[in-house]
Structure formats: structure tokens, C-alpha cells
Amino acid sequence: MGHPILNLVAQRIALGLLLLFLASGLIFIGTQILPGDVAQSILGQSATPEAVANLRKELGLNDPAYVRYFKWLSGVLQGDLGTALSNGKSIAEGISTRLKNTLFLASWAAALSVPLAVVLGLLAVQYRNRWPDKLISGISLASISLPEFFIGYLLIYFVSVQLGWFPSVAILNETMSLGEKLNAITLPVVVLTMVVLAHMMRMTRAAILNVMQSAYIETAELKGLNPFTVIRKHAFPNAIAPIVNVVMINLAYLVVGVVIVEVIFVYPGMGQYLVDHVSKRDVPVVQACALIFASVYISLNIIADIVSIVANPRLRHPK
């Protein structure tokens, strides 16, 4: 047999796939028990019963639920997310540009917030219980306590309206250069960063402080290492697993939880897309979006698990 780590990693991936399968079932059931009839809502209140019955037949809504589920699932596995009821276009096409935009926003928010959170966490440990620690904790707690729409509107009012530094509406299009795009998304990135920063920063601080109680930290101090080397070389490598876990949960939030921020800044991402189609009762689109969110969530958590496994010297170098 291969290295025990490979087995563990394979196990995690298999579990992730199983979880995704279960999630697809839940999504399907969830959309089925929603009240209302899709055919009815497409045709409107004035439709004749015959027309509704015909459309139901056409959409395959008379099949039993499990048949429809497996049809949907096999389509998804072949990359076909179905067609949107509201405009009759392929969902895969509609989603792909939206998903690209959401990932664009999320990755810049992550690129800003993750290093910032870790560095602030390390600084908070270094100056623990002194004013830099209290200042960092205070500001990050304040930013997490304010609802994101409030921060969003504050930024729009001061930075965009009063100072005129960045646009208040983050509209992207294909012809924009990277610089123009970044300029457009600055405010939503700042809002997202403020929302996720505190959680990651505090977890980094807590995880490292926990490791700082260990006897090997005392050994390092008695070697005459300076405090920052002690943290960087001896504490941080042993605190990676919990930090990566919380980072991944927050990255998932950046993709899945951006609905409000996208709506505030009228950003053409997944969140807006989902909200639009929920209000149109476009069930296939809602299903597709939910499935994509679920897979993002699950895969980021698998990555977190794998990083914790690989970061563990006992698993990496068995006896």
C-alpha cells in the first residue's frame, strides 16, 4: 500500500464526493417542497388549465420525483445544468460568466484578507495584552459586529460620494482592463475583507497562543531566540491546522455569502444571479446555483482537511 497520507487524503476526497451527492439530494428535495407550481408561475395566473397541463408534460413535471432527480443529476454530471425557465437559455452559459465574476471578487478579497489576518494575528500574539493587541482586536471586532450592508453604505457615502475615490457601483464588462476592473471592485473587496478579517485574525491569535503554552516554546525561549523567531519557527508551524480550517471557512463565505455585498454594489456575480432567479421562481437555476455553492463549500473544506493532514509531522513521517 502507498503512503498512509495518500490513503487519508483519498478517504477525505471520497467522503467529500459522498457529501456532495447527499447535498444534491437535499437541494432537489428542498426545491420540490417549495409551494407553487413551476408551469403555473411561468404561464401566469390567467393561463388555461389545458395550457398548464401541456407545459407540465413538456417540462417532465408529471414524472415521479426520483426520476426527475436522476435525470437532473445525470445532466449535471455531463456538464448540463439544464435550461432556465425564465428565458429558455442554457444555465451553464449564464452561470459561467457570473461565477467567474464572483471568483474574481472573492479571490481578490482573499488575497487581501488572508495575509492581513495572519500578520495581524501574529502581531497580536507578539504584543499580547498590550495596546497593539487590544487595538487590533477592537477594530476587527467592531468591523465584524457591524452588518455588512451598513459598512457597504458607509463606504459608498464617504469614499465614493464624498471623496469620489472609487465608484459606488461595481459593474464589470469584458472590455475593461485589469486595472479598471480592480478599481471597480475596490469597495466590495474592502467590505468583504472587513467582514472575514476578524474571525481569521482571532483564530490565528488563539491557535498560536495555545501553542505558546507548550514546553517546546520554553525551550526555544531558553535558546535565546528572539520572540518573533519563536513564533515564526516554533509556534506557527504547529498552529497551521486550525488556522487553515478557519481560513477555508471564510473563503467559502467569500464565494457563498457575498449575496448582500453583490446586491449593494450591483455586482454581476452569482449572488445577484441567484436572487434574481429566486424572485422569478426559476427552480432549475436555483438548483444549479445551490449545487455550485455546495461544491465550493465542500471542496474548500476538503482542502482544509488535506492541509491539516499534510501539516501533521506524525502522519507525514510515520514511525
Binding site: T219, G224, N238, H317, K319
Partner: protein
């Protein structure tokens, strides 16, 4: 300035304690201690827990563990007062002039770094030599400390190396930057006797070869006598006696030192085995998770009112035997006959009476008690459970039991946190006696205690045995304890019973190799014992 390497003058060390339910209090841990150490000399600091020995040792690196603070006095290293220098200067001192070897090397290595990187870290940090030179020196040290495969052991991670080896790697780590002084803080206490002797020999050789000076901290006078030139006896943060090794162990002046020297003075007349053992363990084989056998075909008898001592080093299966008898680990083969009838293998199926008659006392008394219950509640619980006692009747019996363990009624409303280590263990003994058991399994009950306190516990157990006619299964790695209390002895090695019989049989020659190793490894309080033993060894410890 004199030629002293380390000079401690009138050292005072304090700390703040937070007693439950009271205001924080400032206490003094070390009162007015002075000592001098010349280049290349070894000074043993000896005392019980709370004597302040580690605190004094760490003060030579100007380090206070936890909330400990140096409140007065002066500490000179190489002629300068290190209590007056700033953080940057201290970093020059630590790891360069003074290094440290801790009690638990297993916890003191960073689990995420290779050993070699940790061993040479200080040398590179202080720019004492190049990386290649430092690694060559480390390998040289590994070799002289008797580590297996010295060329490659540095590439391993801490979890890939045994406890005894890690302790030697830590010694190499302390020696690598060629310090003037090493503080050894109980470096062999956590090891088995058979491993302790190798580590002790390695440390002694390293000190002799490099000419480094050392502070050797321990609670075991016999150990410190092997490596030190001088001994300083401490108690409650005060100096009791200071002298050469020879003077301290041969003509101790102070009463407290005399007590330390003659610890383990309990004697116990061996009783003859009876025809009907109270517990008969027949051909037990057991394993965890079904794969590796931790017990192989073990059979022993315990007689009413007598003590069977089970000895062996860690991994010998002695605690597993206790788990099998109590039903926590049903065996894969064999049976257990208790008081004439066969016991159900698994705990949940045993009757309340079977449970009552077989009690257990653990090594760590403080984690074996609910910290939120008073002593009265802890001892009262078995009285309620097994005998349905209530109110005044229960209280009367609790007081009786408290008197039996020589503590008395005044402790009835105290919480475990308010008791000393020895008192906690006494409460655990009272709790098991409350059930009126026929057999008590004592799992390393004195291992976590200071020698004099441990002696008190053993004396108590023997007295109680006479009154209550209770049998003990006494699990220990300490042969001195075995000699003082047992009627019969079972020696275990890697899950097998290698020697079993009455105390006089087991302890009389001819010995098998393992029993010989075990017996000869117990430190004796005489000069030159270490060299004598090493010259006569026939086999290596399983810990190597």
C-alpha cells in the same frame, strides 16, 4: 571577581497565586538562597516538589516560568549580574553561555521540526560556527551520547524517537553551542529505571568529556549522587544543607537530609500464599484493536490480605493487566476467577457486588476526583451507591474513614484543590476503602509523589491491609517500593510474565537477565554505583 562561573547571592523569588474563592496573594517561593559554582563543577539541587529547585535553576538564565518573578538578590554568570541586563543581552546569554535540559524532552522538542535543525539552532543563531561544522559536532555528540545511528538520527522527527533517546538528543542540543553551564532539570525522572541508567551514564560522560559545569536538579538523592561534586539540599525554598556528595550521603547533618537519605525504610514481613487465592488470573491474552498482543498468556494469583506487586517498564503490559481484571478490556483468551467464581469479562455485565469488591486507585489522584465535589461527597458516594447510607450514618462512616487515612474530620468540607498531593491520594484510598473491597488495584499510586510522602502512603496502605484484610494488586515500575511492601512479585516484560513467585523467591539469585537488569538499575545511594552497574550489564532496556 572570583573564579566562580555562577554566583547566586541572596536570591529571592516570588509569585502570585490565585487560591479558589480568595483574593490573589503574593507568595515567596525561594527565600534567600546563595550558591557558587566553579568552572567544570557539578552541583546537585535536591528537594521535594515545591522546594524551588527548578526555579533556582532557571534563575541562572534569568527566566521565570509562569508568573514567577525574581524579587531580590543577584545572579552573576561569568562575572556579570544577569538580572540587570536587558532582553537583548539575555538572548546572548541563553543558549550560548547557559543551556537547559528539561524533564520531558518529548514535550520540549518542536514536533514539526527535524531533530538536527533544533539541535544546531542555537549554534547557528549565535553565529558560533557554520552549518556543516555545527552538524558535524552534533553527530559527534550523538555518537558520544550512545545514540543509535548517529549519522541519521538527526533527520528524524521527535515522535520517531523513543523517550530515552530524546532525552539524550536534548543533552546533545544543550552541549552543541559549547556552553559554560548546563541546567539539567530532572532529566531522567520521566524515564524507566532501565533507561534512566543509560541516560545518566551519557550525561555523566558528556560532562566529563566537555568540562562543562552543571546544575543538576532532581528529587532523587541516589541519582544526583552519581553525577555531582556537591549537593545543595532545599526545602520550601530554603537552603537546608550544603556539602560534598560524600558528606551528604554518608554523614548528613540536618534532620531533613537524614530523612531523605534513609527514605524507603519501610519493611514488611512476607506472608505465605494460601490455598484459596482471592483472585486467580488464568492464561490471559489481550490486545487493543485486535492486532498486537499486549498481554501474552499471563497467569497470577492474589491471596486475601496480601500484596502482589507487578513490575516492569513502560510498555510491559502491567496497566493492561489491571484493565483486564477490572473488565475495562475484555481479554481475547483466558479467564479471571474472583473469590471462587468466574468474573464476567466485560465491565457492563458485572454485578454491583462484583464492582464493589474490586476497587481501583490511580496514579494521578487529582484527575481521579471531581474537582467540584468536597472530600465528604467524594468518599460518601460509594457509601450511598453500595450500602444506601444517608445522613448522619453516612457522615459518621466518612469521618471514620478520614480517621483511618490519618486526616480527620476537619477535611470533610474541603475541595481537592485545597489538598496536597499526598492528601489527595489518601482521599482516593478512603474512597476505595469505603466500598469494603476484597481487592484494590493500585496503579502506580506513589509514582507522582515525593519520596517521603510516598513512604507515608505505603505505610498507610500496609496498616490498612492489616485492619481490613484487603488484598492489593500493586502496579509499579519502582523496585524499591516492591521490596518494601509485597508478598509476591510478578515481573513483566513486553507483555509476558518473565518471573513470578513469592518476594523471597523472585528477589533471590539466580536471576534471569531481565530481572537482573531491572534490579541492578535501581539507583543506590553510594558513590561509584553507576560505573559498577554498567560494567556488569547483560542486556539492554526495551526503551532503547
Amino acid at each position: 571577581m572570583s573564579d566562580n562561573l555562577l554566583e547566586i547571592k541572596n536570591l529571592k523569588i516570588g509569585a502570585t497565586v490565585y487560591p479558589p474563592g480568595e483574593k490573589p496573594q503574593d507568595i515567596t517561593i525561594v527565600h534567600d538562597v546563595s550558591l557558587n559554582l566553579k568552572k567544570g563543577q557539578v552541583m546537585g539541587l535536591i528537594g521535594e516538589s515545591g522546594a524551588g529547585k527548578s526555579t533556582i535553576g532557571l534563575s541562572s538564565m534569568s527566566y521565570g516560568r509562569g508568573g514567577v518573578e525574581i524579587t531580590g538578590g543577584e545572579v552573576f554568570v561569568n562575572g556579570r549580574d544577569i538580572l540587570k541586563i536587558q532582553a537583548h543581552g539575555l538572548r546572548e546569554l541563553r543558549g550560548r553561555e547557559v543551556t537547559y535540559v528539561s524533564q520531558s524532552a518529548a514535550a520540549s522538542f518542536n514536533p514539526a521540526m527535524r531533530l538536527m535543525d533544533q539541535v544546531v539552532e542555537t549554534t547557528l543563531l549565535h553565529g558560533l560556527s557554520s552549518k556543516t561544522q555545527a552538524e558535524e559536532r552534533a553527530i559527534e555528540l550523538f555518537r558520544s551520547l550512545g545514540l543509535p545511528d548517529p549519522e541519521n538520527i538527526g533527520n528524524r522527527y521527535p515522535h520517531q524517537v523513543s523517550g530515552g533517546q530524546l532525552q539524550r538528543v536534548m543533552t546533545a542540543m544543550a552541549l552543541c553551542p559549547k556552553p559554560d553551564l548546563i541546567v539539567f532539570d530532572e532529566p531522567t525522572t520521566a524515564l524507566d529505571v532501565t533507561t534512566q541508567i543509560d541516560v545518566l551514564a551519557a550525561i555523566k560522560k558528556a560532562i566529563r568529556d566537555t568540562g562543562v559545569a552543571a546544575l543538576y536538579i532532581t528529587h532523587d538523592l541516589a541519582v544526583v549522587a552519581q553525577v555531582s561534586d556537591e549537593i545543595l539540599v532545599l526545602r520550601h525554598g530554603n537552603m537546608v544543607e550544603h556539602g560534598t556528595v560524600q558528606q551528604i550521603i554518608e554523614e548528613p547533618k540536618e534532620a531533613y537530609t537524614q530523612e531523605l537519605v534513609k527514605a524507603h525504610s519501610i519493611t514488611h514481613e512476607e506472608k505465605k500464599p494460601t490455598d484459596n487465592p482471592i483472585l486467580r488470573v488464568e492464561n490471559i491474552t489481550a490486545s487493543y484493536a485486535g492486532t498486537i498482543k499486549v498481554l501474552k498468556d499471563v497467569s497470577v494469583d492474589i491471596h486475601a490480605g496480601q500484596t502482589l506487586a507487578v513490575v516492569g517498564e513502560s510498555g510491559s503490559g502491567k496497566s493492561t493487566l489491571a484493565r483486564v481484571i477490572t473488565g475495562l478490556l475484555p481479554p481475547s483468551e483466558g479467564r479471571i476467577i474472583f473469590d471462587g467464581k468466574e468474573l464476567t469479562p466485560a465491565l457492563p455485565n458485572r454485578s454491583l457486588d462484583d464492582l464493589r469488591e474490586l476497587q481501583m486507585i490511580y496514579q494521578m489522584a487529582d484527575v481521579a476526583m471531581n474537582p467540584r465535589q468536597t472530600v465528604g461527597q467524594i468518599i460518601g458516594r460509594p457509601l450511598e451507591l453500595y450500602f444506601g447510607m444517608k445522613g448522619a450514618e453516612k457522615r459518621k462512616r466518612i469521618i471514620e474513614l478520614l480517621d483511618e487515612i490519618e486526616m480527620g474530620e476537619k477535611f470533610i468540607d474541603r475541595y481537592p484543590a485545597e489538598l496536597s498531593g499526598g492528601q489527595k491520594q489518601r482521599v482516593c484510598i478512603a474512597r476505595s476503602l469505603a466500598a469494603k473491597p476484597k481487592l484494590i488495584i493500585c496503579d502506580e499510586v506513589t509514582s507522582a509523589l515525593d519520596p517521603l510522602v510516598a513512604d507515608g502512603i505505603l505505610k498507610l496502605l500496609l496498616d490498612l491491609q492489616k485492619i481490613e484484610n484487603v488484598a492489593y494488586l500493586f502496579i509499579t515500575h519502582d523496585l524499591a517500593t516492591v521490596k518494601s511492601i509485597s508478598d509476591s512479585i510478578a515481573v513483566m516484560y513486553l507483555g509476558e510474565l518473565v518471573r513470578y513467585g513469592t518476594k523471597s523467591e523472585v528477589l533471590s539469585p539466580p536471576f534471569d537477565d531481565y530481572t537482573d537488569l531491572l534490579l541492578s538499575s535501581v539507583p543506590e545511594m553510594k558513590l561509584g554505583w553507576l560505573e559498577e552497574v554498567l560494567a556488569h550489564r547483560k542486556m539492554e532496556s526495551a526503551g532503547n
